[in-house]
């Protein structure tokens, strides 16, 4: 394990040399602070509480050479466009192995609404906004997050101007091409949604080929006063993908943030969704659905931190685990001393389809204020035999009955999707998964 740490520290030293010309810039200072933090933390070991059920370091060490850097993909335009799903007119961005594909991307919204810059160029050109914001919000107590800040040189900075309702959603395709030597990369996306503005953002993650890969992804989302954001993540990696996703959200007064996370595949997927409600009258919704099979392991850690009074948060995560898949759900709700009149709810429900599938679920409420309403609940069970029999007794095949019941189970999450084409796309993905 210390070997991996050495490898990563060396990688940083090497990377830092390439930053020639950026030395001393705010982003460089953020990187330095982050790598120092990483040096203290190291990667999570068997005793790290937050990674108790997700033995990521051990498997990464065995299966991935973390000294590697993802090479640019040689996929043709047609091959990349195969990852496209049907959607309405949208601002579309493509990344392959972390590299921005400007020739495939298209921005429809006018610059008065939306400014998009590729992070790689933004760093090079000393773009002030990026310099100022980079690494400011991400929680570096997670060593993967710290590593991302230290090593990331790719991704996108999206700025929605104040008082704008984005005319088109933003769709970001992130494709991992494993036909090049084990892609290992550190994308970073920063979304700044201006005061009183509205934006819908969709990120989809897919893989080309069956090779291994490791993606350490991080996002920072700043939801300004009275802004309204819908943020969707659709994770459809391959069964050989290792992925850590750190998403840090910061919400200001009267803002609304809706997070949706769908996970269908991967070797190990670890999602950390942290939402800080730093001011009053905020509203946050977190919806998650994971449909797992094979040996996939998915770990969703969420934190919603009520720092000020009169905010509302609601979380519904549901899972269907087949074959030998395993899952972890850990949902933390913090209600700080000044966060009176907080309403916070959380629910995690799981269906295990085999005896070998397992889930570890843990709600964690820490409340320092006294006038609050909080609740949480989790259930884990099998398919209801009585319901199965009822459907079959009407002529519906066993496989269809199973798919119908599981789709209905997922519907609690799906019904909250506010974009029709996303709803259809997910229905389609779920239908295909459940009907093989």
């Amino acid at each position: 394990m210390s070997d991996i740490k050495e490898t990563l520290l060396n990688k940083y030293t090497e990377f830092e040399k390439s930053l020639n010309g950026q030395t001393g810039s705010p982003s460089h200072l953020a990187r330095k602070a982050a790598i120092e933090k990483f040096e203290v933390l190291g990667l999570p070991g068997p005793k790290t509480e937050e990674y108790k059920y997700t033995h990521l370091t051990r498997l990464l060490g065995k299966e991935i050479d973390l000294g590697l850097t993802a090479q640019e993909s040689k996929l043709s335009r047609e091959e990349i466009e195969k990852f496209h799903f049907p959607h309405d007119e949208a601002n579309v961005l493509y990344f392959v192995n972390g590299y921005y594909k400007s020739e495939l991307s298209r921005i429809l919204s006018p610059e008065s609404e939306l400014k998009i810059s590729d992070l790689h160029s933004a760093f090079k050109n000393h773009e002030e906004d990026v310099q100022e914001i980079y690494g400011k919000y991400l929680n570096h107590e997670d060593s993967f997050a710290a590593l991302n800040t230290a090593l990331s040189n790719q991704g996108v900075f999206i700025n929605v101007e104040k008082n704008k309702v984005l005319s088109h959603p933003i769709i970001i395709y992130s494709i991992t091409d494993t036909s090049v030597d084990t892609p290992v990369y550190y994308p970073r996306n920063i979304f700044q949604i201006g005061k009183n503005s509205q934006a819908k953002i969709i990120e989809t993650f897919q893989t080309h080929g069956n090779g291994k890969s490791f993606i350490n992804h991080a996002s920072e989302i700043i939801v300004s006063e009275s802004a309204n954001v819908e943020y969707y993540k659709i994770q459809e990696d391959s069964e050989e993908t290792f992925r850590v996703d750190n998403t840090q959200v910061i919400q200001y007064r009267d803002s609304v943030f809706n997070a949706y996370a769908f996970t269908f595949n991967g070797r190990i997927i670890r999602n950390n969704l942290n939402i800080r409600l730093v001011d009053e009258h905020c509203e946050s919704h977190m919806f998650g659905l994971y449909l797992l099979k094979g040996k996939t392991h998915v770990d969703n850690h969420t934190v919603v931190d009520h720092e000020k009074a009169d905010s509302f948060s609601n979380e519904i995560y549901k899972g269907i685990l087949d074959e030998k898949s395993t899952g972890v759900f850990n949902g933390k709700i913090y209600v700080r001393p000044h966060a009176q009149k907080t309403n916070a709810f959380q629910s995690n429900k799981n269906i295990l389809l085999t005896d070998e599938a397992t889930i570890n679920t843990k709600p964690q409420l820490e409340i320092w204020a006294n006038d609050v309403k909080c609740s949480h609940g989790c259930t884990t069970g099998q398919l209801d035999e009585e319901q199965m029999f009822y459907l079959r007794a009407r002529g519906i095949s066993k496989e269809n009955a199973r798919a119908i019941l599981l789709t209905a189970f997922a519907e609690d999450v799906l019904e909250n999707i506010k974009i029709d084409f996303i709803h259809e796309h997910l229905h389609d993905l779920i239908y295909r998964r459940l009907n093989n």
Binding site: D384, E385, E386, Q387, F389, Y390, L391, R392, A393, R394, G395, I396, S397, K398, N400, A401, I404, L405, T407, A408, F409, E411, D412
Partner: protein, 252 residues
């Protein structure tokens, strides 16, 4: 149509059916009566293919085929219908979608093409009027939050849509007020033809005033101990089940 011979079944270690013999022909209505715990509902469930029960002996022939050899969905596709005593609530599945899937799988089995949305809607509207069911129930989750009467009507409505050959009504009268009972019975009567048969499982004679049986069987302690015509039901109504128990007792 249905030939049950010496059927025995158990759940866990409890022997519940201890040799049932029953023959039902097309066009007939049979009533199976009996005190609580006699095995009536078990018989209905075993015929529909519920896997909780283990068949330990005997045979069931349905339209010349071995019924016990078929999965529940195959039985349904071959025309066996069980109206549940306790219809199951299925949140997130609308009655319409559920019925459409069921009907089209049955049609496929019969070698018919699936119904398109328009013809399907026409069919279900027609059948809903049969049981005076409110259309608003169609788009709600299956049986979720339905009243007892609505659930039972929904069963008969499904029966009307799926057009079975052999219908088994398991305590369809339980929990129904007199108006609902009349509506449900009316629906069943309208669906009756010379080609299909109905088995009515009930504790009380009440339902049989509306659905008039050709044969009445008394099930007691896992066996059919007495068979007769509809007058037997009236006798049971006036005298209760104790005289049957005594009669059996005296034979034993």
């Amino acid at each position: 149509m249905l030939k049950v011979k010496n059927l025995c079944a158990k759940i866990e270690d409890n022997e519940i059916l201890k040799g049932i013999n029953l023959e039902v022909k097309a066009g007939e209505v049979h009533a199976i009566m009996g005190p609580n715990g006699s095995g009536k509902s078990t018989l209905a469930s075993v015929l529909a293919g519920k896997e909780d029960f283990e068949v330990t002996g005997g045979s069931v022939e349905y339209l010349g085929k071995d019924l016990l050899d078929m999965a529940p969905e195959e039985r349904a596709r071959e025309g066996v219908f069980l109206a549940f005593q306790y219809p199951v609530e299925i949140p997130g599945v609308t009655t319409t979608n559920f019925l459409k899937t069921a009907l089209n799988q049955i049609r496929e089995h019969r070698g018919e093409s699936p119904l398109d949305a328009v013809s399907f809607l026409k069919t279900i509207k027609e059948k809903m009027s049969l049981v005076e069911m409110d259309q608003s129930l169609l788009n709600r989750s299956l049986n979720e939050g339905f009243s007892g009467g609505e659930k039972k009507r929904n069963e008969i409505f499904q029966m009307a849509v799926l057009e079975p050959k052999l219908s088994i009504l398991d305590e369809t009268d339980s929990g129904l007020d007199i108006d609902a009972l009349r509506i449900v019975a009316n629906g069943v009567n309208k669906l009756k033809s010379k080609d299909n048969a109905t088995v009515v499982v009930t504790h009380y004679q009440r339902l049989l005033e509306y659905i008039v049986p050709d044969f009445v069987h008394v099930l007691y302690n896992g066996r059919i101990v007495k068979s007769g015509d509809k007058s037997l039901a009236l006798e049971l109504e006036s005298k209760g089940y104790d005289w049957i128990k005594e009669e059996i007792g005296s034979i034993a």
